[in-house]
């Protein structure tokens, strides 16, 4: 019997699930190896659980989400979370730094209809996760590697190094050193293949913090190069704002700004 694959969506933009559909040729190969049992983005046909591999996209933002993610865990042998939302709360975790009631009262005519939690959290805050794949959106090559690894019962080969390693491998001239453009590459988890520096832009940190880094030292270097505390808060509060290392950095910069 083929292993059963399920793809679940929580609070997210669907971009990461689309990455799976975007695999096209490779998707057919994957489809040949698994029974796609639950993947609403691709098909309305639903096969009941349990599932061998559940891929989770999105963050947990409602009481209903909390129940549903627990249910996913109960029904699944392996759970892999994909993307910035499912690994770090996503861009919607910006609410974690503000008052969500104030937001809803400004945005909605009837805020009383909005049932939402105060914080956006990754599934790992609620259940055990077998593997987290980073990125906003995730990289399709990495996604295929993760699925292939689970299908064959081995550890995914997802490198833990910085974006700089990818940048140097592809032969891009560092934009920080050669042009003075601020770049989050040194503290960001590899995975995208260092796309932005290849187009003369600094890295935006889509893949969240690298496994081992030294963000306080990096922040010091960015400040010394002229970046304001306000801008420091902004660069660390994007898709991975709630990732602990980025959260600490933005909180520290905010505190420094307040002291001024």
């Amino acid at each position: 019997m083929q292993p059963k694959l399920a793809v679940w969506k929580f609070s997210s933009c669907d971009g990461c699930q689309l990455t799976l559909l975007d695999c096209e040729d490779e998707l057919l190969e994957v489809a040949g190896q698994v029974e796609i049992a639950y993947f609403l983005e691709a098909s309305r046909a639903v096969v009941a659980g349990p599932y061998d591999l559940s891929i989770v996209e999105g963050s947990i933002t409602t009481a209903d989400d909390v129940e549903r993610i627990r249910e996913v865990r109960r029904m699944s042998r392996h759970v892999v979370s994909i993307g910035a939302c499912a690994t770090a709360g996503g861009i919607q975790a910006l609410r974690n730094f503000a008052d969500v009631r104030e937001f809803t009262s400004v945005v909605y005519a009837h805020p009383e209809y909005i049932h939402t939690l105060d914080r956006s959290t990754p599934p790992s805050a609620h259940i055990d996760i077998d593997f987290e794949l980073h990125g906003c959106p995730i990289d399709k090559g990495q996604l295929l590697e993760v699925i292939t690894a689970f299908l064959h019962g081995r550890r995914p080969q997802i490198a833990s190094h910085s974006v700089c390693v990818e940048c140097k491998r592809r032969g891009t001239v560092c934009v920080m050193v050669s042009k003075g453009i601020p770049c989050l590459g040194p503290v960001t988890h590899a995975g995208c293949g260092a796309i932005c520096p290849a187009f003369n832009r600094g890295c935006y940190g889509c893949f969240g913090p690298a496994d081992t880094t030294n963000i306080p030292a990096f922040v010091g270097a960015l400040s010394a190069a002229g970046m304001s505390d306000f801008d420091l808060v902004r660069v660390f509060r994007t898709f991975n704002a709630e990732a602990p290392a980025f959260r600490e950095a933005s909180m520290a910069a905010e505190a420094a700004e307040d002291r001024r």
Binding site: Q33, A159, K168, R169, V173, C174, K179, A210
Partner: protein, 381 residues
Amino acid sequence: MAGPSGTTLALDGDGLETVIAAVRQRGYTVIAPTVRDGAVAYEPITSAAALPRGVGDEQGPARYRLRERDDDALFGFAAAPSSWKRYLYPPATTLWRARRDEHGTLLFDESAAAVPRYAFLGVRACELAAILVHDRVFAGAAHPDPTYAARRRELFIIAVHCGSPSGVCFCTSMGTGPRAREGFDLGITELLDTATPRYIVEAGSPAGLELLESLAASPATVQDLEAAQAVTDVATEHMGRHLETGGLPEMLQRNLEHPQWDDVAARCLSCGNCTMACPTCFCSDDVEAQAPDGETSARVREWASCFSHDFSYIHGGTVRETVRSRYRQWMTHKLGTWWEQFGTSGCVGCGRCIAWCPVGIDITEEAAAIRASDGRGRGSA
């Protein structure tokens, strides 16, 4: 001054073009400096017109900029961002492929890719020294690396002795430059004492001699040879950095618990740029490119860095957990234990790790700081 063979020619810019043509005629792809994305890059060229005319560089810790020179020099800069190792030891190499046949037997295909025939034009003395280091690492051992060894066998090296060291150069300290002494086929000194540059070209190997003898050019005069020597003599006086190498491996070994390691660990991002940029760093990771059905796979070797968390991952955990332990590993290997392992320094003094470190950590300064309070870090790690 003259190469071992004794033949040295004096050429003008057109003469340099004939050298490139003669090399290409012998079946080589010429890789040479050219300007790309605001930096010098070593890329395939077909004519001297692609060389960076009148371009100089400014290099310092975490800083690299091109500048306009007030002459027409074609080699008026120091080491480029990306070293030649990209061509001899590529960032990703497929080592073999495997597939399962209908009986379930694994079949391996180890046939190597076609070997390119490169001629490197503009190899600096420090870079040539780095290639000779890689020869020991990859080609000299009991198990030579086939990709490296094959590319290296086909390689034709045209060294250019340096006249314009940058702010991060310290080949003089490492005994590697600014004049290349061995290992080249042709060696060029660019003379800027006339309105248009001239090139003093010496042969360093039988292949280089054969090529030189095929050119219709006048031999260099005694004055030319003196002028060429003066270029590198002046360069020697303009090194951007200095590293005291006396007893360096022992000095580092007796300071493995020096507080400077904590100091540098507080600044280092563990990003790995230094290792990627270094022309002698050779570490790699083997990854398996497996098809989803598990029936075929390729083993791919990729550049890796000792600054990555998973680099020292072995069964059960990572050996070098802290940034301190990783920086110390890198630096003591480069400047110290490399001697035991390969009979040479792992650092050739090109300064790339200083320029391309995003926070400007300077290997010469770190070593000097430890030496300044030698003995504070006694103890073994």
